[in-house]
Symmetry: C2
Subunit: 364 residues, 2 copies
Amino acid sequence: MPSSPEAHPLWAVVMAGGSGTRFWPLSRARRPKQLLPFAGGRSLLAATVERLAPLVAPHQTLVVTTAVTEEATRRELPQLPAANVLAEPAGRDTAPCVGWAAWRLARRTPSAVMLVVPADHLVPDGAALRRTLAAAAATATARGGLVAIALRPSRPETGFGYLELGEAAGAAGGMRVCRIARFVEKPDRRRAEEFLAAGNFRWNSGMFAWTAAAICEAIRTHLPELADGLDRLVADADTVGEAEALRRHYPRLPRISIDFGVMERAANVWAVEAELAWSDIGSWLALADLLPPSPAGATMGDVTALDSDGCVLVSDGPMLGVVGAHDLVVVATADAVLVVPKDQTQRVKELVERLREVGRDELL
Amino acid sequence: MPSSPEAHPLWAVVMAGGSGTRFWPLSRARRPKQLLPFAGGRSLLAATVERLAPLVAPHQTLVVTTAVTEEATRRELPQLPAANVLAEPAGRDTAPCVGWAAWRLARRTPSAVMLVVPADHLVPDGAALRRTLAAAAATATARGGLVAIALRPSRPETGFGYLELGEAAGAAGGMRVCRIARFVEKPDRRRAEEFLAAGNFRWNSGMFAWTAAAICEAIRTHLPELADGLDRLVADADTVGEAEALRRHYPRLPRISIDFGVMERAANVWAVEAELAWSDIGSWLALADLLPPSPAGATMGDVTALDSDGCVLVSDGPMLGVVGAHDLVVVATADAVLVVPKDQTQRVKELVERLREVGRDELL
């Protein structure tokens, strides 16, 4: 727990602005990954907020989403005060998202601790997650810097950013705390293998803790253009109203991630080493690992498979019948069906691009 | 043309009682193959009746279907008098179907010539078909026997019955007429190859011509139980009404095909040798041969395929997107999707059986 709860009220900032096509056709512009029922039938977003609730009450939970998913996000989170759902006019990556929440918090309570949590990850053990976040919050207030939650890599994953641990700096809540020597963007396979072998590299979980004051200061130092934009946005919100101020300023904020824009450049950065079962569910194959195994591979929804194996078979509506298939991904929805071999799923974006080119926006 | 049109009015009997699961999930109990839009977007049934129309007017065209498809059949054929659609309470194979139509016709006009035509075959050249049927009708009246339309085999097909040509017997309409030495049930591959090599074997097209009197007599000789049943049915129709008579008698008629029950046993059987492009569209692969070729193989409906080949991709509703697939059959409908390798399509019936076992009747 934070060293002084009264002085450092705990807020959660859930980043729910994700879009992307990796789960097309199950995911759509209006139903991105965080809204998919990947948490045992519930949406990842709802599961994320509920997982945090014993640590951070709904009235201290902000959810940042985009205009196109605002209504769906509110529907998923009826327990949140309406004002706690912040809708970006358009996604500008994570630095503006975090910055906007930080600027709002800092006006009233600069000492507030922000736990920044992606809405679209899966952490089965909620209690372990809360212990980890509490340790990160305690570290953020004790050290006064920026804290990342670091995960021990289990494979040479090329889809994540890494952080290299530096000097050890004690512990929090039973978890090791280290300085972060450097952040590394998604590596290629060979480097990822080196990181795994080296032992002092961790996955960047995308979860962070810092005080509102600390992140505001870091943004002002490393992303001054973003800080200026947020200043103008907040100032105008008092005069022309927040919706108009957002419409004016948000689309012009620099599009940059908090990792690249701030964490990699800041000096006072710390890692809390979590032992946490965790998945960012970055692909159909990652989802398959989380589904109960079946002879056909992994199935979700109304699926009947005969003599099939190694498949990922998902239906969001139609009965999906598969005979004699191997290593296929098949995803059936009411208005679109995808069939692709398991080793070519990264090419689905080409298909989506083709649909965009021919104006099939109703499917995107 | 028949030798004496007045003495031998020409009737068509379209057999539209087919069911079957080979086109599941596109075909269902209530929408069997003859109702599928396999004739360039129109149903095979509608195309069959329209193809016959210049030779046999709608008021002399009978369509025999089953109760479950009666309404859909009537909707497809608005040009037919209501009384010309005959609905079997349940399908009993082709001998009762042909017999029922023959018994009705024979009561008024025993000399009428019946052209018996399956509703679910595709004959692209309607004029050639009509010339062939006219030649068969002329042969039926001239010879007084049972006439089958024989097709020269183009491959050692194991899915059709064959007939062995006997003694030549002149010509009709420019087509060769022979006695039929014998009928052969669907052969295995080796025999089919022998038939192809022998040169005097033909595919049994399932199209026949005979006078009502001739087929009634043949049924009475070779299927006396069927003849007795039809006698009772027709007699009762005069007293209790046709619906009640059908309900009483039809389900107890012997279940047997006209080929096996009559043609194979009758002596006075003739073949008219047609030169006719023809398909019984017996499988997804046969359908594929009839669709315009695309790089992905054959596609029908809303399909987008990238880097795929040898596939049969069919949609009856959802957008079907396929990437990197080879030799797959994928069929997408609003409530069911099928994925099966091209060389295992015969196993779809196992899938359908599984669905039946678990009570998914809404999908069958």
